[in-house]
């Protein structure tokens, strides 16, 4: 059968293979029929069940859906903001008609303790849509969660009927394919949109800031993701586990430490059992969003607090705060009521202590740089290295278009702190990323430098790229190849821009943060302007291919040669891993 081909080709011209999502699908086909149930009960809904006749379509409304780890946002294309936000919560996992969570609204309950939930990350797990670990994931459950949250949003906030509507889905670009597939399965089979278009979060954010290139610093829940976008294309991504989840856990640690019951036994036993919690996730999450803040000044442990303001921007204000910090005001304590512990209490802790969770989560400045694994780099270093990995001209553009986003962007002081520390790192190190003795020798002896370095030096705004750096990058980062290759594409574009009628210079080469209206709103703009997103999938093609794909692996194999997306394409690391992409979802 024609499967993917028919769907994609019928839609018009030949799309690039990597943009066709029609050829991925989760192994669970919804058409699987339980052989034990009688035919009458398992009769699948016909595909036309929600009325394919176009008269029944609500053509004018395009729905924009943004999916994150902790919440779903939905609204109409063209609107400035989503109409509804639904958070993923444990109560959504309950059966319809089971109102236990609502009846125990009084937050004094300690019910969360009697849950005795076990398994990895049980403490926060039910507040999340997904964990990116494909082996652990129950893909069907992810689909169910999305469906339920979406129905709630449609009924409560969108107030629309169930006529099929086209949808645009904004997704994090690191979302593994099987999960993307599970989401699409759920959308297509349950809500019947005629098409679903995919947009990556960084691109939507970039459009939402009015620029074409950017450095997205997504201070997200599961992790922090730094994405360099150049001319609406994601060229480099790096991530760190330092995100919201860690912040809430650090907050728990801080609060638990101050519990009277723990203060007593602190002396004899300080067991660091990660799975042992004294307070509920809900409460710690709440306190983290309310009270936790971030010290704006650079915290070199030994250095005195004053006179060490940021090298850039708001020097005066920083020293103000620093001064305030050293005054008697710093001795102020904060009283926080706690209700989810064994016996409700109010703890009193120093104001300064409330900056600890963010300090430990995002910076960990007491450790040396080399002691961190790649996935746990402190954020300023992560941002700096992300910039370092970029080709010079791309870097120049990106560093002047830094967009902070994500839930942790609301930790007071955090954005400024990261921005300041990155600026300082650049000031100290320039763009020569290599540190240490060997690097110093390299710098001292220009002969050791390769041709490449000198070539690039001519065009860069600042510093040079040493060959050793390039080699290092190549080894560290698979994306580098891509990025390197694209520089040749970028250059003509740059020239094009310069030659174009718009002669105003673009801001580049200096650190600058810009504000985006947000990913959802960016996607709303894109849809409103009728610019097409990365990928558009037709419902029929998805459902049709899905059924065939599950039963005819040989055919899929054939396609994989052409599409570079094998049957194992659902799992990353198939033979053709270096070339296949699915929009951005194929890149990492």
């Amino acid at each position: 059968m024609s499967g993917l081909g028919s769907g994609a080709v019928a839609a018009g011209s030949t799309p690039l293979p990597h943009r066709s999502v029609a050829n991925i699908r989760s192994p669970h086909t919804s058409s699987n029929v339980n052989p034990s149930t009688p035919a009458s009960s398992s009769r699948p809904l016909p595909s036309s069940s929600f009325g394919s006749p176009s008269s029944l379509r609500a053509d004018e409304d395009i729905l924009i859906l943004e999916l994150g780890t902790r919440k779903l946002q939905i609204g109409f294309a063209g609107d400035a903001c989503p109409r509804g936000t639904v958070w993923f919560t444990p109560s959504q996992l309950r059966r319809v008609g089971d109102f236990r969570d609502w009846s125990s609204e009084s937050k004094t309950n300690v019910d969360w303790k009697t849950k005795k939930v076990t398994g990895e990350r049980w403490w926060s797990r039910d507040h999340e849509l997904w964990e990116y670990d494909v082996r652990e994931a129950d893909l069907g459950l992810i689909g169910d969660k999305v469906e339920r949250a979406l129905r709630e949003a449609l009924t409560r906030y969108m107030l629309i009927d169930s006529r099929p509507r086209r949808m645009v889905c904004v997704l994090p670009s690191g979302l593994p394919l099987p999960m993307l597939s599970a989401v699409l399965d759920s959308l297509f089979s349950r809500l019947q949109p005629p098409t679903v278009s995919l947009l990556s979060l960084p691109v939507a954010l970039t459009v939402g800031a009015g620029v074409r290139s950017s450095l997205i610093v997504d201070l997200g829940w599961r992790e922090t993701v730094i994405t360099s976008v150049c001319e609406f294309r994601e060229v480099n991504t790096s991530r760190s586990v330092r995100g919201g989840r860690l912040l809430v856990e650090q907050t728990h640690k801080l609060l638990a430490k101050h519990l009277p019951e723990n203060q007593k036994k602190k002396a004899d036993n300080t067991s660091d059992n990660a799975e042992d919690y004294d307070l509920s996730f809900e409460e710690c999450n709440d306190i983290a969003t309310r009270m936790v803040w971030c010290k704006p000044h650079l915290s070199s442990p030994a250095a005195p607090k004053s006179g060490k303001g940021l090298p850039t921007l708001h020097e005066q204000d920083e020293s103000d705060v620093a001064a305030a910090g050293s005054s008697t005001e710093a001795l102020k304590t904060v009283r926080i009521p706690l209700r989810s512990c064994r016996s409700p209490t109010t703890i009193e802790l120093p104001w300064e202590a409330l900056a600890e969770p963010s300090e430990n989560t995002f910076f960990d400045s007491q450790y040396t740089e080399s002691s961190f694994d790649d996935h746990e780099l402190p954020l300023p270093l992560l941002v700096y290295r992300s910039l370092l990995h970029l080709p010079l001209d791309v870097r120049a553009l990106c560093m002047s278009r830094i967009i902070f986003t994500g839930g942790c962007a609301s930790v007071l002081g955090l954005r400024g702190r990261i921005f300041g520390e990155v600026s300082k790192l650049i000031e100290e190190r320039g763009w020569d990323g290599v540190q240490g003795k060997g690097a110093d020798q390299m710098r001292a002896n220009p002969k050791l430098r390769g041709k490449k370095g000198s070539r690039q030096a001519s065009s860069g705004p600042k510093g040079v790229t040493s060959p050793s750096e390039a080699v290092e990058n190549r080894e560290q980062d698979g994306v580098w190849h891509d990025a390197a290759n694209t520089t040749h594409d970028v250059c003509p574009v740059e020239e094009q821009l310069k030659r174009g009628q718009d002669t105003r210079p673009r801001v580049q080469g200096r650190m600058r943060a810009i504000e985006s209206v947000g990913a959802w709103s960016g996607a709303s703009l894109i849809a409103h302007l009728k610019a097409a997103p990365v990928s558009t999938i037709e419902r029929e093609a998805w459902l049709q291919y899905g059924a065939a794909g599950a039963s005819k692996p040989s055919e899929v194999d054939q396609k994989s040669a052409r599409q570079s997306l094998g049957p194992g394409g659902l799992i990353r690391g198939s033979a053709a891993s270096n070339s296949w992409t699915l929009g951005v979802w194929g890149m990492n």
């Binding site: 008609g97 009927d161 169930s162 278009s197 459009v207 002081g413 954005r415 891509d482 290759n485 009628q501």
Partner: protein
């Protein structure tokens, strides 16, 4: 532990039961090799919760003879209304005015109680002003007040000049009292400018914008930034100077046309530019440069907010619940961390609600239709599943030998592990035909702690739900003939017999299920009990069969058949019976 009343949940057949029982296993996409064990519906699987419903939540399509749940039904909106003022809202307003009441209905940002408009009494400086006639002429202001928690909009620095159209007034005031231009006003002002002075005025406006940009564009709220961006992109795409740059044709490209993707948003994804013209098109659209075009530089210095937090009490900050129930605030720049303060909260206009008609997605027949009037909660049509499929009620039986003599079975009693216990299931037939019921239950409940289950009478007939008056007469008959002897006597006098029903009534039948609850003892290294893992739930497959007169609306489809012949119908589904909690330890 809270006591647990026995309950019944039904799984709508629209859910894909094949994939429910086990976690996703990428290696076995086919279910062919799955044996009987795997096909047992596991009510404890996380996915099961998404397909189980109490009977009252289910509807029924008379034409398809199928249960319909909220997941497999098509909805149409009958009425939009505000739950506070009960005014009906025309559907055309929804797109333009949003999903909230635009009259004066607001919820308290602290406690979600309703807010009311109250005039603020300014203490007169001159006692003579107290005279009532003078007070009336005095210019007074108004605030929104919560009668539950005494919150007042003055706490966020907001007062109103008029007691009506609060929604419109609120849109023009920021927290703290500063006024702002709404998007509409901005648009009009822009239009006016370009009308009046043409080029010069536009240039002046641009200069002003540039000036505001240098000051950081701090004043630019989200709504304005979005509007500016929209305007900027539109102007870029329509720039006449751009000539044949292709971007003017952006509007022609269908949103769903896959070929257009590459050219616009994702020019480089392929690594190669396959349309040479695309290259030249790219140069046409530039980036936003000024605040007027939507470019905004945030102020990353949050030291004043940190100082504010420093001065604040814990209760001066808003809880996550309070923040989440706030409608998006488009009247401010990105709030980021500032959203945490109570002083940033705003009165929340009530979300509108809908009344919905429901159709069967397959045959499109209406199966639920509400009364149009907002004030009533009645339905014109409502085919509830309870009128078509038998209800199941559960009661614990107290038999001699099982619980010990004389021990009364109290509702919500914990179940003793490893001790046989009996439950009485009563099936009630709601339809006018007699039903043949076949039950199937696994001998052991799925999960880590399998309890033994024996349905003593898995097959039985239930008499039709005949007219109530007939029944009254029959009942009298029965009473005198002693047919319902069991009702009068005590349960403990009777023995449980395999293959026999326990008791039968007009349109109901009781049968007995014997259960041996599992022991919940944990072995070394076993995970702790999960939430509700101590609840004894048994999955049960119910198949009902009945015969109907082949006539009426089915006559046309049953072509060639004898009209007098009866037609067989059947319906089958999984349900879950929650019996009680097993005693731990």
């Amino acid at each position: 532990m809270a006591p647990l009343n026995p309950y019944t949940y039904i799984q709508c057949p629209c859910s894909d039961s094949a994939s429910l029982g086990r976690p996703s296993d990428a290696t076995s996409p086919t279910s062919a090799e799955a044996d009987d064990e795997d096909n047992t519906f596991d009510p404890r699987a996380p996915r099961a919760n998404f397909s189980l419903y109490p009977l009252e939540y289910l509807l029924y399509c008379e034409d398809c003879h199928q249960i319909r749940c909220p997941r497999c039904i098509a909805e149409e909106i009958a009425t939009y209304f505000c739950p506070s003022c009960l005014f009906e809202v025309p559907s055309s307003n929804l797109k333009s005015e949003g999903n909230r009441c635009t009259r004066s209905c607001f919820q308290c940002p602290i406690c979600i109680g309703p807010l009311s408009v109250t005039s603020i009494e300014t203490p007169p400086s001159d006692p003579n002003l107290l005279a009532p006639d003078r007070a009336a002429t005095q210019h007074s202001t108004y605030s929104l007040i919560c009668s539950y928690c005494n919150w007042s909009s003055t706490e966020i620095g907001i007062q109103f000049d008029k007691p009506n159209s609060i929604h419109a007034q609120l849109a023009k005031i920021r927290n703290g009292g500063a006024s702002r231009l709404t998007a509409k006003e901005r648009k009009e002002r822009r239009k006016e400018l370009s009308h009046r002075g043409g080029e010069a005025a536009v240039a002046a406006a641009a200069a002003a914008a540039a000036a505001s940009e240098t000051s950081g564009g701090q004043d630019m709220d989200l709504e304005t930034q979005f509007a500016n961006l929209k305007l900027f992109y539109n102007s870029q795409l329509a720039d006449p100077n751009a000539g044949d740059n292709g971007f003017s044709s952006l509007g022609d490209l269908g949103f769903s046309s896959p070929s257009s993707l590459s050219r616009i948003m994702n020019l480089y994804t392929g690594g190669k530019l396959h349309d040479p013209r695309a290259k030249s098109k790219l140069g046409a659209m530039r980036e936003a440069i000024t605040a007027d075009e939507g470019l905004l530089e945030p102020d990353l210095d949050e030291s004043s907010l940190i100082s504010q937090l420093h001065r604040s009490d814990f209760l001066d900050t808003a809880s996550s619940t309070q923040v989440c129930s706030q409608p998006p605030n488009l009247g401010e720049p990105h709030l980021h961390g500032a959203a945490r303060f109570n002083s940033s909260l705003r009165p929340a206009p009530y979300l509108l609600r809908t009344k919905r008609s429901k159709r069967c997605p397959v045959c499109r027949h209406i199966i639920s239709k509400p009364e149009a009037k907002v004030q009533t909660t009645r339905f014109r049509i409502r085919l509830v599943a309870g009128s078509y499929i038998p209800s199941i009620s559960i009661r614990r039986l107290n038999l001699p030998g099982s619980n010990g003599p004389g021990a009364p079975a109290i509702l919500g009693d914990l179940l003793e592990p490893l001790k046989p216990v009996h439950f009485l299931l009563t099936f009630k037939n709601p339809i006018f035909e007699s039903l043949k019921v076949t039950l199937g239950a696994p001998a052991k409940t799925p999960g880590r702690f399998p309890s033994k289950v024996t349905v003593l009478c898995p097959q039985f007939d239930i008499d039709a739900n005949t007219d109530v008056w007939d029944e009254a007469l029959k009942d009298n008959d029965r009473e005198s003939s002693g047919r319902s002897r069991r009702r009068a006597g005590t349960e403990s006098q009777f023995q449980v017999e395999v293959g026999k029903i326990w008791e039968r009534g007009r349109n109901w039948v009781s049968i007995v299920v014997e259960v041996v609850p599992a022991s919940l003892k944990l072995e070394q290294g076993q995970d702790l009990l999960k939430e509700d893992e101590d609840v004894l739930e048994i999955p049960m497959f119910v198949r009902i069969e009945w015969e109907v007169e082949n006539g009426g609306d089915d006559a046309t489809t049953g072509s060639g058949r004898d009209k007098d012949q009866k037609e067989k119908r059947e319906l089958a589904y999984w349900c879950v019976l929650g019996l009680g909690r097993i005693k731990q330890g």
